[in-house]
């Protein structure tokens, strides 16, 4: 009895701890609830880069991270998926047009020298001076006309290269290419040392946005390879809020209906299972916040569904306990064997659910993952809840006393009496769990 009381207080402490966690920590909500966009990018191989290596992925991730951060829209996430994919999560935006333009550009900056091609026409040839040699880029304006331009500052190596290049090309044209497009081809008047250069927007000049975007892209770094968007999920904040509100109502109605059913059908036992269910729900929610599990719409569905499943273990135990009572066992023995006998079914059932959820989790897609994760946590926790919490409450509530009011368990008095007759077992014997 002493152990049972200690366990009881442990459960209470755990519950209070959970309430504290729920109160203190923020729930992390998925993009489909707060609104935002999820893009899956795939690195594209080209003639220059026939194979995507982990190093290329690292620098691709780094460059994309810098770019989405430059958009300034809050906590963005860029993570690698598999060997050649990147997952980009951007909160608070639905219109992904801008994001797509921003992410999709390779941002290759190249300085080229003029060359006469075989057919006599003029072309451009790479010089080895590229965006990699930049220290930083800035938006500036030309003092004479006030046009927007991009100011470049080279790093040490870049400054040296630029100096050599301008020396070589003095009196000739030098071309600046961005994303494979010719931006400007100024005439080099003299050798430029000091590591500074400007890009003017050609005849019309740059729009401010154009210059700003180029600067952001240059500062973020060029993509080592091209990246195509192969999947997009965007949800607006209105739909997200709508989903949150509806999920709350669905959760409350679901729990309410389950509790009502349990109390009507299992009476006193039902009340105990409801308490256990409440504790289960609180601990479950606290775990989400501690892990932390990012709740998505399907994740919440998994959570609500797990509530309906969590009570299953209680039902199996109660039915078994009632059966044992009908057979004439004492309350204490009936409760214990109710748990022991029901355990194999509960265990087997939960293992099968967990197995399918693990498959789902490994399958990968984010919507599916959220659902599988909450369901796995729910099912594991429900075993603990049924076996520890419900059992403890039942022992404390009924102790070793005799079953005076079978109605409390939803049983009829005659059923119990019949059992004693049928089994011809003495009450004293039954108390110790001995049956003839």
């Amino acid at each position: 009895m002493k152990n049972k009381l200690i366990l009881f207080w442990l459960i209470i402490a755990l519950t209070l701890g959970s309430i504290y966690v729920i109160y203190k920590k923020k729930t992390s909500l998925g993009l489909d609830l707060v609104g935002g966009s999820r893009l899956l990018l795939e690195a594209q191989t080209s003639e220059a880069v026939p194979k995507i290596t982990p190093e290329i992925m690292d620098s691709l991730q780094y460059a994309i991270e810098n770019r989405v951060n430059a958009m300034g829209v809050g906590e963005t996430i860029v993570q690698k998926i598999g060997t050649k994919r990147l997952l980009v999560e951007i909160p608070n935006i639905t219109d992904t047009k801008k994001a797509k333009e921003f992410i999709g550009q390779t941002a290759q900056l190249e300085f080229k020298r003029p060359v006469t091609l075989f057919d006599g026409s003029q072309g451009w040839e790479s010089t080895g001076l590229t965006g990699k040699d930049l220290k930083k880029a800035l938006v500036g304006s030309t003092p004479s006309t006030g046009e927007w331009m991009v100011e470049l500052e080279f790093n040490l190596q870049g400054a040296q290269k630029f100096s050599n290049l301008t020396k070589e090309l003095t009196g000739k044209q030098m071309a600046i290419f961005f994303n494979g497009k010719l931006q400007s081809a100024p005439r080099v008047n003299e050798q430029i040392s000091g590591g500074h250069a400007q890009i003017t927007g050609g005849e019309g000049g740059f729009e401010y946005e154009e210059a700003k975007e180029m600067v952001d892209l240059l500062n973020a770094g060029a993509l080592p390879v091209g990246a195509e968007i192969i999947q997009e999920e965007s949800v607006g904040p209105t739909l997200g809020q709508d989903s949150i509100n509806k999920s709350k109502i669905a959760g409350l109605v679901g729990i309410g209906a389950v509790m009502l059913f349990m109390i009507i059908y299992y009476r006193a036992l039902g009340v105990i299972s409801c308490l256990a269910l409440l504790i289960y729900t609180l601990i479950n929610f606290a775990i989400y916040k501690l892990v932390p599990v990012t709740l998505t719409l399907t994740g919440i569905a998994g959570f609500i569904l797990s509530i309906g499943m969590a009570i299953d273990a209680n039902i199996l135990i109660f039915e078994r306990t009632k059966e044992e009572l009908r057979m004439g066992r004492s309350l204490f023995t009936a409760i214990n064997s109710g748990f022991d006998r029901a355990f194999t079914s509960i265990f087997d059932s939960n293992v099968s659910t967990i197995m399918t959820c693990l498959i789902l989790y490994c399958l990968g897609a984010s919507m599916v993952k959220g659902f599988a994760l909450t369901l796995i946590i729910g099912v594991c926790l429900s075993m603990f809840s049924a076996i520890t919490v419900t059992k403890n409450f039942m022992h404390l509530a009924f102790g070793t006393s005799e079953l005076k009011y079978p109605q409390l368990f939803g049983l009829k008095k005659e059923e119990i009496e019949n059992a004693y007759k049928a089994q011809e077992t003495k009450r004293e014997k039954a108390k110790f769990g001995v049956l003839d």
């Binding site: 968007i229 999947q231 965007s234 809020q241 709508d242 679901g254 569904l305 509530i307 659910t353």
Partner: protein, 332 residues
């Protein structure tokens, strides 16, 4: 020790006596499902048993929150204007949203979804804007609330993965049940799982034929959840049959034991499914509008699972055990 008194002359449900009735009844339910599945496999160019959504075929779905339910006239107009701007074969659907609250301007009341070919890459970003402009001509309020795009290569990859996942799930279940019980229990459990899956697939095939409902990766999630969950009821029944067999096999025939076991466990089979269904129905009627079909698939699966654990698993096990007993007698 099991209670010998539970072998009775009369049962709440005598599945053994009426076994052929239950088998026929099961067949009658399965036939339209199978017909619908085969119909789609024959008529669809990709020979899929269901109408596949963009997750598997690749494509883009744009969802708009609009201020009124689009009439067939509206939809025809939108389709025409979309085709004019070069959107080929758009599928336009209105989604009825439960708990419609016209007063509440914040709530999403009417959803209009447009399915097109893949518009995810940066070249077609412009196209989305054009479509939005076209749609907004028909309504006072048009807000783009969700965009889902899947590239065609990713689509076929997802389809392959989900198929592999389904097969893996079936195999794991059979192995686990065979390991925990006996082999005949394992393959009978597999039959009940097929039964449940066919009913869910069938209902969505029928919905696909008549309502143009497509399935996405969430649907496969639903099927896997159903497989994982509906086996629970079967396990409960098998667990009891195994327990009773151990104690009563000498005194009673397998028919009697199976009948008694099913009757002993029927209350808990139904109750466990009921509580789960309560939460599922709450999700269906009050939950988020974008997961309705997903929840519906699980609801159908849970009901089918409970039915099959009682009427399919028990009946087939009885027939199998009977044959085994006959064989044993012959050999003896």
């Amino acid at each position: 020790m099991a209670n010998t008194n539970l072998i009775k002359d009369k049962y709440k449900i005598d599945i053994i006596k009426y076994r052929y009735f239950w088998l026929t009844f099961t067949g009658i339910i399965l036939i339209p499902c199978i017909v619908a599945i085969i119909y789609l496999m024959v008529t669809q160019p990709n020979h899929a048993p269901l109408k596949l959504g963009i997750d598997f075929t690749g494509g883009t779905i744009l969802q708009y929150d609009v201020d009124k339910k689009a009439t067939t006239g509206d939809i025809a107009n939108i389709r025409q204007s979309l085709e004019k701007i070069g959107v080929k074969n758009p599928v336009i659907q209105t989604t009825a949203i439960n708990g419609t609250n016209e007063e509440n301007k914040e709530a999403v009341n009417h959803l209009l979804s447009i399915r097109t070919t893949f518009l995810g890459d940066k070249e077609s970003a412009q196209k989305v804007e054009e479509i939005t402009n076209t749609v907004s001509n028909s309504f006072n309020k048009t807000e783009l609330v969700a965009v889902n795009s899947v590239g065609p290569t990713l689509g076929s990859e997802l389809l392959k993965n989900t198929m592999a996942a389904l097969i893996l799930a079936f195999i794991l279940m059979v192995v686990y049940i065979s390991f925990r019980f006996r082999f005949e229990y394992g393959w009978i459990a597999l039959l009940t799982l097929f039964h449940d899956a066919i009913i869910v697939l069938g209902v969505f095939a029928i919905k696909g034929i008549f309502q143009d409902t497509t399935v996405d990766s969430l649907f496969i999630t639903a099927i896997l959840t159903v497989i994982g969950y509906s086996i629970n009821d079967t396990i409960v029944v098998f667990d009891r049959i195994r327990e009773n067999m151990r104690f009563l096999a000498k005194k009673y025939s397998s028919d009697e034991i199976i009948n008694a076991s099913i009757n002993q466990t029927i209350a808990r089979s139904i109750n466990t499914s009921l509580t789960t269904l309560f939460t599922l129905f709450a999700l269906y009627f009050f939950g988020g509008s974008t997961i309705k079909d997903f929840v519906l698939a699980i609801i159908i699966g849970v009901i089918a699972g409970t039915y099959s654990s009682i009427f399919v698993a028990g009946v087939i096990l009885a027939i199998v055990k009977e044959n085994m007993e006959k064989k044993n007698k012959k050999n003896a």
